[in-house]
């Protein structure tokens, strides 16, 4: 039952206040209505502010106040002002009768956390902007222009594509056991390693959701064999990059999380959705779901691929002499039963070895 919230009892707020304030390095400045310093105190030095002269204009002595004093009207609050000492502060300016108060509170740790999140968000937005420009070339200017006019693109196209899903194993429990900063740092190390090989092999990132990435091959490619082969090779490169990342993380005493990959090929409806500045493309179809389900079957360092992908890839290998190195790779068949699929599915599991190939792999096809 939720009743009306009681105000915080005086004794509780009196207990909390000094506790909260101590970590915040509060500093203050009192000026007259013209912005001349009357009194100052608190941790001004923490923000690199020294030797304030009473009776002088505050903004001539503290340059970040230029333009803010004298202050009239509503209280002013600026967050994350980088001060001369390097500390980040929230700046408050408010009027109380004849006095104008300027208050600084340290918000460095909030800033750092927000910075890490914003950084990731901006990098992803830049990536999707770049993809938007790439799509203009793939799908023709007419599509781009109708989007420019702000119209929604409803029509799609049927394409033979290869869909790749990659996701970090055990990320949810990991994120529950670690601080948000640590989780973001880890994600920022893994995501590039998962995304870059996909893009480098001509795949488009359809979406990124938390610790999972979906890529599509075959949008700008007329040949479905090449698309399937590029998807598989991209998947191998993702696993190798994760292996290299683990070596670095292990050296720093950080825990290592593997990634699993699922790949499926077949027809899908692809099209652009959204408006000009927030558009992306979407692929919809049975094989998209299948790739996601196969990804769920993949253990760390595994690619689970469906039969059509395997055949297309093999055909491409026979047709084009691809000089890809497979010496660290094993391939095996695995029957999987997926919920919602009537029959047991024949899949191929490609495993990228993390060290020298263990004996347990004997019997598997080796390249």
């Amino acid at each position: 039952m939720s009743g009306r919230a009681h105000p915080l009892p005086q004794v509780v707020s009196a207990y909390l206040l000094p506790l909260v304030l101590r970590s915040r390095h509060p500093a203050f400045l009192r000026t007259d209505p013209n912005g001349y310093v009357v009194e100052h105190g608190g941790a001004l030095a923490h923000y690199g502010i020294h030797d304030l002269q009473p009776g002088q204009p505050a903004s001539a002595q503290i340059s970040l106040l230029t333009g803010f004093l004298p202050h009239h009207g509503e209280p002013l609050h600026l967050s994350a002002v980088h001060t001369e000492s390097g500390a980040c502060a929230d700046l408050h300016v408010f009027v109380d009768g004849e006095n104008t108060w300027v208050v600084l509170l340290d918000t460095t740790s909030e800033h750092d956390q927000k910075q890490a999140m914003q950084q990731k968000g901006n990098e992803l937005s830049l990536r999707s902007e770049r993809q938007g420009l790439m799509l203009d070339t793939y799908l023709g200017k007419s599509v781009a222009e109708s989007l420019m006019a702000g119209r929604w693109q409803r029509g799609g196209e049927r394409r033979e594509v290869t869909v790749l899903f990659v996701d970090i194993r055990g990320f949810t429990p990991y994120s529950e056991d670690h601080s948000p900063e640590e989780v973001f740092r880890t994600l920022n190390q893994y995501l590039p390693v998962m995304i870059e090989p996909i893009e480098a092999h001509g795949g488009l990132i359809e979406h990124i959701a938390g610790d999972a990435v979906m890529g599509i091959f075959g949008i700008g490619e007329s040949d479905k064999r090449t698309a399937a082969a590029k998807a598989v090779i991209a998947g191998l490169h993702v696993q190798r990059a994760v292996r290299a990342l683990h070596a670095r993380r292990a050296a720093q005493g950080l825990s290592c999380l593997g990634v699993g990959i699922g790949i499926a090929s077949g027809p899908a409806a692809v099209g652009i959705v959204g408006t000009y500045d927030r558009r992306g493309f979407a692929a919809i179809g049975h094989h998209v779901n299948l790739a996601s389900r196969l990804q769920g079957q993949a253990r760390a360092f595994e690619l689970v691929i469906d039969e059509p992908t395997h055949s297309l890839w093999q055909e491409a290998r026979q047709r084009d002499a691809m000089n890809e190195d497979f010496s660290d790779v094993l391939i095996d068949e695995r029957q999987v039963a997926l919920k919602g699929f009537r029959d047991v599915l024949r899949t191929f599991v490609i495993t990228v070895a993390t060290s020298s190939l263990p004996a347990a792999f004997s019997g598997a096809e080796r390249f």
Binding site: S59, A60, S63, L64, T66, G67, F68, L76, H77, L78, S79, A80, V81, H82, C88, H111, K114, Q115, Q118, Q119, G121, N122, E123, S125, L126, E129, L133, Y276, D277, R278
Partner: protein, 167 residues
């Protein structure tokens, strides 16, 4: 000494921080580190025989999660609005930010910097678009924080406007 506040405005990752770094510290880095909140830099400038202290407010770039709060702009004497020649949407953002800034602050000198001129072959902002903006009254300068091209020029042009002469 006279102090003048100049705000850097623009979409995220257009190069606001890089332009200030180039102008104040003659440095550039390819690594992107987004700005949260505001960083203030100072530079003394000479103009028409006078020295003024320029306070450069390098603000966070706007995106859908953090809208620019116009209270940061209070007391500005000018605006340097930055767009990225390789990203057409950043020009739309520049126009929007100018409109919001001017309606909060009243008339104020401003310039548009089209940054990343070193990547001219990858520019997606077309010459027709630039002409159209000039015709509608924008003063536009091309610059590159990476090579330094046009940077000094952009800052001294806006300084001249802020110190009250020029046009």
């Amino acid at each position: 000494m006279i102090q003048k506040k100049l705000c850097m405005l623009g979409a995220f990752a257009v190069g606001k921080t890089s332009l200030v770094r180039r102008y104040v510290h003659s440095m550039f880095t390819d690594k992107y580190l987004t700005t949260v909140g505001v960083k203030i830099d100072k530079k003394d400038v000479q103009h028409a025989g006078k020295t003024a202290s320029l306070l450069l407010w390098d603000l966070y770039g706007e995106d859908e999660f953090q809208r620019l709060q116009t209270s940061y702009l209070r007391g500005s004497a000018g605006l340097l609005i930055v767009a990225d020649g390789t990203r057409p949407a950043t020009v739309d953002k520049a126009i929007e930010l100018r409109d919001r800034a001017l309606s909060a602050l009243g008339p104020l000198p401003y310039l548009l910097i089209l940054n990343k001129s070193d990547l001219l072959s990858e520019w997606e902002v077309r010459p027709e678009r630039i002409d159209e903006l000039s015709r509608s009254g924008w003063e536009i300068l091309r610059a590159s924080a990476k090579t330094g091209e046009g940077v000094e020029d952009a800052f001294s042009t806006i300084t001249a406007r802020m110190l009250g002469d020029g046009r």
